[in-house]
């Protein structure tokens, strides 16, 4: 990974995401306030030297809440991509390698899920599972694994037909060995590329779901539910909708730039 040539979009993306990560981790040291410290006397204050991004309707410091919101966004993005990716990888390899009935059933499942717009499906699943941080993670895993399964299955089907895999099979290598030594090493590149784009999609999906009133609930800070609260005060507190949204856009942009860079450098055949 370290030897990848860095281009401009990659550098820009890495810097942006790096800053978001560092500020999220160092949140308690960067701000004098706590994320849920309310101070009703100072509610709805415009950005100032004491409150850089202003305060919300309960007098909580928005800058602090955005830093803590970054923790939620990044954690959700990375955890869900990790788990959804692992599930998709396993099922995709099984589906592609074994074929037959297993393949038909799994791919039908994938078809069903893909017959809904992603955000709508996530919304319905989350509404049914119930609100909360844990449930939004489960929601995104349930809705997110299919993309991986389909990608991996396709790759496995292509790899299986290659001479060296056929040769290994002809020599009597067990399936586990073929998968580990011949398939997996070739699967990492597409998975890494897809994951980098999925992280951004999951972060935005979490924000959208929390924005609609499902997902992460107040008082816990999430960029989505902060925007939802800000919507109510859009006539008298522009900062409540502007800053959490900017944080979201910058993060999504940074992750997407990293994704573009990885795709361009790891797999020059692909273009969009």
């Amino acid at each position: 990974m370290l030897s990848l040539p860095l281009n401009r979009s990659g550098a820009l993306g890495l810097i942006t995401v790096g800053i978001v990560m560092v500020t999220a981790v160092l949140a308690p040291f960067l701000s004098a306030y706590g994320p849920v410290d309310s101070d009703l006397v100072r509610s709805l204050q415009a950005p100032s030297r004491t409150h850089w991004f202003g305060t919300d309707q309960l007098g909580r410091d928005l800058f602090t809440r955005i830093l803590y919101g970054a923790r939620v966004s990044l954690a959700i993005g990375l955890v869900t991509v990790g788990i959804a990716g692992a599930i998709g990888l396993i099922l995709g390899v099984i589906s592609g390698y074994l074929g037959g009935v297993v393949d038909v059933i799994l791919m039908r499942l994938v078809d069903v899920q893909l017959s809904f717009p992603f955000i709508l499906l996530a919304l319905v699943v989350n509404a049914i599972l119930g609100i909360g941080l844990q449930n939004i993670i489960i929601t995104l895993i349930i809705t997110g694994w299919v993309v991986y399964a389909r990608l991996v299955r396709g790759e496995v089907l292509a790899l299986k037909a290659l001479d060296y895999v056929e040769a290994a099979r002809a020599l009597g290598a067990p399936a586990a060995r073929i998968i580990r030594h011949h398939l997996l090493p070739n699967l990492w590149t597409p998975i890494i590329i897809l994951s980098s784009l999925q992280v951004a999609q999951f972060i935005v999906a979490e924000a959208a779901i929390s924005f609609l009133g499902f997902g992460v609930q107040p008082p816990m800070a999430s960029w989505g539910n902060m925007l939802n609260e800000g919507k109510t005060y859009i006539y008298n507190a522009w900062w409540m909708t502007t800053f959490p949204g900017l944080a979201l856009v910058l993060t999504a942009l940074g992750v997407n730039l990293i994704g573009d860079w990885l795709r361009d450098t790891l797999d020059p055949r692909l273009t969009t």
Binding site: L109, L120, K231, T242
Partner: protein, 306 residues
């Protein structure tokens, strides 16, 4: 061809059927649907009466068969919130609002994206190209709900030019349509650009140029026509995405469409309405996928489906 259409239709039916089954099962994962929507001070006796009346006391298999039979006849039961009103009618009543918004948004997206994509490709690496690419990258990173909020702030709160919510005049369409179009438009522009770049590198384009055709004619008649095939496919798929985007856009702008209604039904745990929404979405989405495949086959006679 007929065989291909029949097979794809059958597949679409299976997908819709499975989607319905999945949602039917999911509503029981959430716990007792009756308890969830009745007020907390309801007595156990009242809850029991309600359960019996709505048929939640029957065995699951019976409930499932009843549900599927009803669905086949287009009967999904009455809304739990607005009694006496069939859920299907409630949702269908809101369909025209969603369709008109989606249509305006799609026209807007295509009207901006295709010229941007074509010009960016024709003048590769010019300032227009860089600006276009930059805008589309940004357009894809800006979530619709934030774009909507910012538009409301600028054009309704600050400038006071546009109404924030509802549906009445054409002015009401501007902000929701722009919000809905933004993401689709960004994707279309990027896609059109890369398709055009592909085509512009072909021999027949060089021939057309060599024989002295006017550049615009080469661009639109020879290049765009050949690049349009994948663009049409993307169009059908993106129409489906608009349905998803409508959920958020309609909520922000209080647009009286299906999306907003569905969000409210989810918040109220009005399951019959949710089921109808999911069913209709699955039908439309599968239909659009099918349309994309058919359009592809129709536009490109080289493709043969066995």
């Amino acid at each position: 061809m007929a065989q291909f259409v029949a097979r794809r239709l059958l597949e679409a039916v299976v997908v819709v059927f499975l989607a319905l089954t999945a949602v039917f099962c999911l509503q029981f994962l959430a716990g007792d649907p009756v308890k969830l929507f009745l007020p907390t001070d309801t007595t156990p006796k009242q809850i029991e009466e309600y359960r019996t009346r709505l048929g939640f006391n029957d065995p699951l298999v019976v409930q499932y068969v009843r549900f599927m039979r009803g669905a086949l006849r287009g009967d999904f039961g009455n809304s739990l919130r607005q009694q006496q009103e069939p859920a299907l009618r409630l949702v269908l009543d809101r369909f025209p609002a969603t369709l008109s918004l989606s249509a305006v948004a799609m026209l807007l997206a295509l009207g901006t994206a295709i010229p941007i994509g074509v010009i960016s490709a024709a003048r590769r690496n010019s300032w227009f190209d860089h600006l276009g690419i930059g805008t589309t990258v940004l357009g894809q990173a800006i979530p619709g709900f934030w774009l909507g909020l910012m538009l409301i702030y600028v054009f309704a709160v600050w400038l006071r030019w546009l109404p924030t919510s509802g549906r009445g005049t054409w002015l009401h369409y501007i902000m929701p349509a722009v919000t809905l179009a933004a993401f689709v438009s960004a994707r279309f522009a990027r896609f059109t650009r890369s398709m055009m770049l592909d085509v512009l590198g072909q021999d027949y384009i060089r021939t057309a140029r060599a024989k002295g055709l006017a550049p615009p004619r080469v661009l639109y008649k020879h290049a765009l026509k050949n690049a349009s095939l994948p663009i049409v496919t993307l169009l059908a798929l993106q129409l489906g995405q608009l349905l998803g985007g409508a959920v958020i856009t309609e909520t922000i702008f209080a647009w009286p469409g299906v999306g907003r209604f569905l969000v409210q039904a989810l918040l109220n745990r009005d399951f019959p309405v949710v089921l109808v929404g999911v069913f209709l979405t699955a039908v439309m989405y599968s239909g659009l996928n099918l349309a994309a495949d058919l359009a592809y086959a129709w536009l490109n006679p080289r493709i043969r489906y066995a």
